[in-house]
């Protein structure tokens, strides 16, 4: 055996040395690890800790100094590392249908096991749910609350049939935020310091601006970054968007992107022949394959729905404004006209050549309007698109060959359009 190994070694392709991670990547990794560890430590000290939905008004718990972790982030991280497969099987064996969202199934299985290969979270003392991105979250979090026998705080935002929230809706959500403050004060035994809350809101606004700026720097052509890189920084906005540490991460990231622009460099490893918009959640279990296939054809994904996913606009200290922002922002809480309008604007701003739609088995909310979204965006912009089947966290809903055929087909249409633009040739 040993001899074989010795002989085979010189023939093996030399392993590519791994590029050192940029400082911002190290910072964001450490920040997320710290959040999980801090929450475990806080629980061990006897503090009350919570689990929260991703676009919940985090400002309240943050200002109260409570440690919060995010099941959606946990599920996405586990899926990207292929560590959720057993949890999905566990959930299905426990009676949760495969048609239920895979983040929910991962989380509901974890609720039983409280053990995963990474991203471990201690048992919650309360759960925080906001239905502005999805109604299934409500049932998922109700289950968590029921099984753990802990209180659930629901912020019910009501769907926006109109372009933006009415004053009545704002009043309705504001009242729930007031209730949330009182409820969390009672559970934690802490008193809300409204100056502190204003400060958290100020930091959150700064982080929102920085996230948008980092994303919008990819509008530069060619983009200074591989769009997939930004997925690595999403935890800043999902789990830590009220923290000063996020300001530091994003400022560092922006500095690195600007340095790339100044030097004419990019982290996209090949020539950027095509730029695309990615619609829908990432296909976390196949992040590598989805990225490498795009790279093979010189496609950089320069924009996604995540660009503005945390663009919550309000004045620090204005709780009505906070309520309005959480109703108005998420695409899933808005009517088709509003969403399509935002997407068309992004397609133009980022100068994309094509759109890739992830038909995400888990997310019925996104999928149900996707055909019409495709039709309207391609009609308004003249930009070709393709779609592929996949899932945000379930590895069983994706075919590598089917994905590549669709991407190659899109490339051939984009190439054709490019030729026409450049030389008027057909």
């Amino acid at each position: 055996m040993e001899e074989k190994t010795t002989q085979a070694a010189p023939e093996a392709a030399p392993k590519k040395p791994k590029k050192p991670l940029p400082k911002s990547r190290i910072m964001v990794g450490e920040q997320l690890a710290k959040l999980y560890q801090d929450t475990i430590d806080a629980k061990a000290r006897g503090e009350k800790i919570g689990w929260s939905a991703s676009i919940f008004p985090q400002e309240i718990a943050e200002a109260l100094g409570l440690y919060i972790v995010y099941p959606e982030n946990q599920a996405a991280g586990l899926a990207a590392r292929h560590q959720s497969d057993d949890l999905l099987a566990h959930a299905e064996a426990a009676g949760y249908n495969m048609d239920i969202c895979s983040y929910a199934r991962t989380s509901l299985a974890y609720m039983d096991t409280l053990t995963a290969e990474s991203n471990n979270m201690p048992k919650p003392d309360f759960v925080l749910c906001c239905n502005n991105i999805c109604n299934q979250l409500t049932k998922w979090f109700e289950n968590l609350a029921h099984q753990f026998q802990v209180p659930m705080f629901l912020i019910d935002t009501v769907y926006n049939y109109d372009p933006c929230a009415s004053d009545a809706k704002v009043k309705y959500v504001r009242a729930q935020i007031d209730d949330l403050i009182h409820g969390l004060e009672e559970i934690s035994g802490k008193k809300m310091d409204y100056d502190k809350l204003t400060e958290v809101m100020r930091i959150s606004q700064r982080n929102k601006d920085l996230w948008r700026e980092a994303n919008e720097l990819l509008a530069v052509k060619p983009a200074p970054l591989a769009g997939f890189d930004l997925f690595n920084y999403m935890s800043c906005m999902v789990c830590n968007r009220g923290k000063a540490s996020t300001t530091a991460v994003l400022e560092q990231l922006i500095a690195e992107i600007k340095e790339n622009i100044a030097e004419g460099k990019s982290t996209f490893p090949v020539e950027e022949e095509y730029r695309v918009f990615w619609e829908g959640i990432a296909c976390w279990p196949y992040l590598g394959h989805t990225f490498k296939t795009l790279k093979k054809y010189g496609i950089n994904m320069v924009a996604t729905g995540y660009v503005n996913a945390w663009g919550l606009e309000y004045e620090p200290g204005d709780l009505d404004g906070l309520a309005r922002a959480y109703i108005d922002l998420p695409n899933n809480n808005n009517n088709l006209e509003t969403v399509v309008g935002r997407r068309i604007e992004a397609h133009k701003k980022f100068q994309v050549d094509g759109t890739i739609y992830h038909v995400n088995r888990s997310c019925k909310v996104m999928d149900c309007q996707q055909y019409e979204t495709q039709r309207r965006i391609s009609e308004a912009t003249g930009i070709p698109f393709t779609s592929f089947d996949g899932d945000q966290a379930d590895f069983r809903a994706y075919s590598e060959a089917q994905y590549e055929t669709r991407i190659q087909g899109l490339v051939e249409v984009m190439e054709q359009r490019k030729k026409e633009r450049e030389g008027g040739k057909d």
């Binding site: 038909v359 070709p384 393709t386 779609s387 055929t405 051939e412």
Partner: protein
């Protein structure tokens, strides 16, 4: 200039050899797809027919499901583009192409020069693909090539409503058990496929004349059902099954020039 296109499908392999991108010198189809000796056999058959050897081929383009693993191709092009190009050669008046392959179905819009303008492909599953027809023919106990003639005798087509291939198979078995005529079941199967695939074509927008491509185009039952669903005639060329390989050979000629 001699070029070749090989379409390595999931259930069959096709090869076409062209002279100067204009004249078909050889064509071959083998009912075995990627991962079998089929692709190699199709290549050899076409070479023998043309009296050529591989090194006399100036450029070879592979397409189809197995294009990336087919050895010896100079380029790989998706079947989306190849079917559009191949159909344009066979039926220049077509502007919408419907291709039903072994494991996927697609609708294409092509320009008056055969260039791909837009396309949509099936979602999720095997319903509406050639594999669906294979499974159903097996349940009926007849060769898949016989489905078209059989359905022509139908008087009262049954309804096959399931989009899941396995459930649709059970549905067909239930119809058999209930004594439905084979011809009526075959017609029901064709309508089921045509409905799903016609929806793709309608999504992309049916422009000009519509042609069908791929092996399933040779099934007159599907073609009739598709014409009924789209409410317009469907053009089918006798070499429709070879359209992908032909498109690949045409693209090989463009690249060799």
């Amino acid at each position: 200039m001699i070029t070749m296109g090989v379409d390595v499908g999931s259930t069959s392999s096709k090869a076409v050899i062209l002279r100067d991108g204009k004249e078909i010198l050889a064509k071959a189809a083998v009912p075995m797809g990627t991962g079998t000796p089929g692709p190699g056999q199709a290549l050899e058959l076409a070479l023998t027919q043309a009296g050529l050897t591989r090194d006399q081929i100036d450029c070879l383009v592979a397409t189809g499901y197995g294009r990336l693993t087919f050895p010896g191709a100079d380029h790989q092009v998706s079947e989306v583009t190849c079917h559009g190009r191949g159909i344009h050669f066979l039926l220049p008046e077509a502007r919408t192409v419907i291709d039903i392959g072994g494991q996927d179905a697609k609708a294409l819009q092509i320009s008056d020069k055969g260039k791909l303008l837009n396309f949509v492909m099936n979602d999720k599953c095997a319903a509406g693909t050639g594999r669906f027809l294979d499974v159903m023919a097996k349940v009926l106990g007849i060769p898949v090539e016989g489905l078209g003639d059989l359905s022509a005798q139908s008087e009262q087509p049954v309804s096959i409503s399931n989009v899941c291939t396995v459930f649709a198979e059970s549905e067909v078995i239930s119809h058999l058990a209930a004594g439905a005529k084979l011809s009526d079941i075959a017609a029901g199967i064709h309508t089921s496929v045509a409905r799903r695939v016609a929806a793709l074509a309608l999504r992309i927008g049916v422009e000009g004349q519509v042609a069908m491509s791929g092996g399933v185009a040779l099934n007159q039952g599907v073609v009739r059902a598709m014409a009924a669903e789209l409410k317009r005639p469907i053009l089918v060329h006798e070499d429709a099954q070879l359209a992908g390989a032909l498109g690949a050979a045409l693209l090989a000629a463009e690249r060799a020039r």
